[in-house]
């Protein structure tokens, strides 16, 4: 068992060493070695997950007489190891031909292997020091992978943004580790969590509750890694790197924030308002990422902002206490986004001959933006729009857990599900269709399938990752707010959204006659969004200012 876990992380490292020592010239051999070792690592990771599914209990593999270098076997590490090894294997296989004509072929596989090893150690780290080292290394290796083409200054410029943002995220984690070690006197993660649960609330630092402060620092580290708002600007601009690296980054590396919050779940159950802030940051990121995605005319930047929005949603799930759902989300998003990146080249190539888009009702509605002229009675459609998604969501969730509606976090997620479902049906009945009821029926059916699948799978993740029901309850409880305030908030947001739908409905029904002032406001908003809220300009100006100040200081002090 121990050997198997060590093997998963050690195999990519061995591959990197072999490539460095044996293959100095570009050639297929380096790629063959790399793919073979990654395949073996994937198989070992699958065996580890098999053992975890079979009920093997958590355990730590430690180095004798060393406070670091330990690996942890638990459901979270077993699952994440398989995900990383799997995505890495796909990226390796894809790169064999994709990178064949690029300079530095062997170096690319060496870096890819090192990155795989660092990621595997990161998710399996059994102590704070190993976690810190792996966390740092991921940022450094990503810098070199993104800047693989050393002839391209723009690739390096944006990989530098990534490095700097990741460093901003590394340092809070170091501080959090220092605080935890000082308060609880151990580096070992399992030991640390045991001590925290035994004595959660007696430590204070600079007037703050220790665990609140630690939770905030860990959240900050997660925000930087998962491109949350204000720390996101690197993500859409790192498209100059090789496509396999983009795939690995969007499918695996950027998700590390969700993993980190899950790893420190025993800390977060003892924090006060930290999860609320996490929810808020995730929500803002999800909304802004989605808005920016919709307004991009560059498909790669659009994909970058799509990832940002998804990461926002993942962090938001942690903020409502649905930790295991965030893991499911990151896996699902990783597979879907990885496929998009790896398939993008082929799709673009094929689309040059034939775009393959059928000129059907959906095309008329989405691309040509021509809604149906004849409408069904609005009251009936409004009732369907509002009631059907709620019924499906409630039924699906009651199927997996009777007490589901006792959790505020679950209700928030249901609310998002309801908005999505209602938006789907709302859009459907405006489409031109020969048989509207068939279309609505199919939409409702597909929504039901998605909701049911999502509920069942996320429930299975919940049971697998956090088998203790009391702990699951604590996670949701940590994210709770005052019930009255919660109810008022939900009612208010529901009212705003329904009002928005009504306004949209009447605006389309009465034509798009807009007042001049509204039109100008939209224009200002569009400019703001198309300039990405001027954040990149602001950061660039700040950077220029700092460099200018440093130069002036050097001149003034005569370079000594």
């Amino acid at each position: 068992m121990e050997r198997l876990i060590v093997l998963v992380a050690a195999l990519p490292l061995c591959s990197a060493l072999l490539i460095q020592l044996l293959f100095h010239r570009p050639g297929w051999r380096a790629a063959q070695v790399s793919v073979t070792f990654t395949t073996l690592s994937f198989l070992a990771a699958a065996a580890v997950l098999g053992l975890a599914l079979a009920g093997q209990g958590p355990m730590a593999i430690t180095l004798p007489a060393a406070p670091w270098g330990s690996l942890l076997f638990d459901p979270l590490s077993a699952l994440m190891m398989l995900v990383i090894a799997g995505i890495s294997l796909i990226v390796h296989v894809y790169s064999v031909r994709y990178m064949a004509e690029e300079p530095g072929y062997a170096r690319f596989f060496l870096l890819l292997d090192l990155m795989t090893a660092a990621l595997l150690v990161m998710v399996a780290a059994g102590d704070l020091i190993t976690l810190l080292i792996a966390w740092h290394l991921v940022g450094v290796l990503l810098y070199f992978l993104l800047g693989h083409d050393s002839r391209s200054p723009s690739a390096w410029r944006y990989s530098f943004w990534t490095l700097l943002t990741y460093r901003i995220g590394d340092l809070p984690l170091v501080l959090a580790a220092g605080l935890l070690h000082h308060a609880y006197g151990t580096w070992s993660l399992p030991e640390l969590f045991t001590r925290i649960s035994a004595d959660p609330g007696t430590h204070q630092i600079a007037g703050f509750e220790l665990l609140d402060l630690v939770g905030a620092l860990i959240a900050l580290a997660a925000f930087a890694r998962s491109a949350q708002f204000l720390l996101h600007t690197w993500l859409p601009y790192t498209m100059d790197g090789p496509t396999p690296v983009s795939a690995l980054m969007h499918a695996g590396i950027v998700n590390a924030g969700g993993f980190l919050i899950n790893r420190f779940a025993p800390v977060f159950i003892h924090t006060g308002g930290v999860l609320h802030w996490i929810f808020l940051v995730g929500l803002v990121t999800a909304v802004i990422g989605s808005v920016l995605m919709l307004t991009q005319n560059d498909i790669k930047k659009s994909l970058g902002y799509s990832t940002m929005g998804q990461m926002g949603f993942m962090i938001m799930e942690c903020g409502v206490g649905a930790f295991s759902l965030a893991i499911y989300h990151l896996i699902a998003h990783g597979l879907f986004k990885g496929t998009l990146f790896l398939g993008a080249g082929g799709v673009i190539h094929a689309a040059r001959r034939d775009d393959g888009v059928p000129k059907d009702e959906l095309y008329t509605f989405v691309v040509e933006r021509r809604p149906a002229r004849q409408r069904k009675p609005w009251l009936l459609m409004a009732a369907i729009t509002l009631a059907v998604p709620v019924s499906i969501l409630v039924a699906a969730h009651l199927l997996v857990a009777q007490d589901y509606f006792q959790k505020q976090g679950a209700i928030v997620l249901l609310f998002f599900g309801w908005v999505t479902g209602a938006q789907l049906i709302f859009a459907t009945y405006r489409m031109r269709s020969q048989n509207l009821w068939r279309l609505v029926g199919l939409s409702v059916f597909s929504f039901a399938v998605v909701v049911l699948g999502y509920s069942l799978i996320s429930h299975a993740f919940d049971l697998f990752l956090y088998p203790d029901p009391a702990f699951r309850q604590q996670l949701y409880a940590a994210a709770d707010i005052d019930l009255l305030r919660f109810d008022i908030l939900v009612a208010f947001v529901t009212a705003v959204i329904v009002l928005g739908w009504l306004l949209t409905y009447y605006a389309e029904r009465n034509g798009s006659r807009r007042h001049r002032r509204t039109g100008r406001a939209w224009l200002v908003f569009y400019v703001l969004v198309s300039r990405e809220f001027y954040l990149t300009d602001l950061y660039a100006a700040l950077t220029r200012g700092l460099l200018h100040t440093a130069t002036r200081l050097n001149v003034w002090l005569r370079w000594a």
Binding site: A66, P67, W68, P103, I129, L132, I133, H136, L137, V140, Y143, F144, G147, S150, R151, S152, P153, W156, R157, F160, L163, L164, R167, I168, L171, P172, V174, L175, A177, G178, L179, H181, H182, A183, W187, I205, A206, L546, L547, A550, T551, L553, N554, L557, W559, A560
Partner: protein, 252 residues
């Protein structure tokens, strides 16, 4: 008496503006072995002075050390000449030895100093190699080393990473142990350390981009590092990583 000792030690464990003496000396030292010797040994007399006198280390001295370190890290951002950059990084790194002295751990401060200095020695040797090949070791002047001299570029990248306290090298573990030790005892100092660490990363990445990135000269340029020299540098870096792991033992 204590103050005089501390001031004298402040020349070797560079506190601004006493640190200007070291930079002036380094600039005047043209021979590579002399520069390497300066970089390797400069902080040791400072440590010996403090160890001999054992004066109390007041809080204001720690603040001065942190400010000096931050000042040099910040000023290194705009530097392009590798020799100057190495000197500034040295001042920024060594100033933190005051914090090591204030919180003695299992690892002797002399070893920490040696671990901080060793990557700088390698860096100054590489800088000399660049000066011999191109007439100057200046970021942004020629660039494209990765294309033109891949072995030299590879070694340079790893050495700069070692110098700016990236994982597995001794400066990383010195910084890590300092930040971990100060996080709860002196949160402001820990925050300052985090900021200094960030500035090093920024300065290092800027320097590397000016030297390594770019199309490079496709014609017959200067010769790359020989395989033997590359192996020698690799062995030195492996030894440094081993030293880093030894320092890691001190975290227990």
């Amino acid at each position: 008496m204590d103050a005089a000792f501390l001031l004298l030690a402040g020349v070797f464990l560079p506190l601004f503006p006493l640190s200007m003496l070291f930079n002036a000396l380094l600039r005047r030292a043209h021979r590579p072995w002399l520069r390497a010797l300066l970089l390797l040994t400069w902080p040791q007399p400072g440590l010996a002075l403090v160890a001999a006198a054992q004066p109390p280390l007041p809080d204001w001295l720690m603040a001065w050390a942190l400010l000096s370190s931050a000042l040099y890290a910040f000023r290194a951002l705009s530097l392009r000449e590798l020799g100057l950059w190495t000197g500034f990084l040295a001042c920024s790194l060594w100033a933190l030895l005051w914090l090591v002295l204030a919180r003695p751990g299992e690892v002797p401060p002399g070893l920490h100093a040696l671990g901080l200095s060793a990557p700088l020695v390698l860096l100054t040797l590489l800088g000399t190699g660049l000066e011999r090949r191109f007439g100057a070791a200046y970021a942004g002047l020629y660039g494209g080393l990765a294309q033109q001299l891949p072995r030299l570029a590879g070694v340079l990248v790893v050495v700069v990473l070692a110098g700016i306290a990236m994982p597995l090298f001794p400066p990383f573990f010195t910084l890590l142990s300092l930040t971990l030790a100060t996080a709860s005892a002196a949160p402001a100092a820990a925050l300052a350390l985090a900021g200094i660490w960030l500035l090093w990363s920024w300065a290092g990445a800027r320097l590397l981009q000016g030297l390594v990135v770019g199309p490079g000269d496709s014609g017959g340029g200067p010769a790359d590092l020989s395989p033997a020299a590359t192996w020698a540098y690799a062995a030195a870096l492996a030894a440094l990583a081993g030293g880093g792991l030894y320092l890691l033992g001190g975290l227990a």
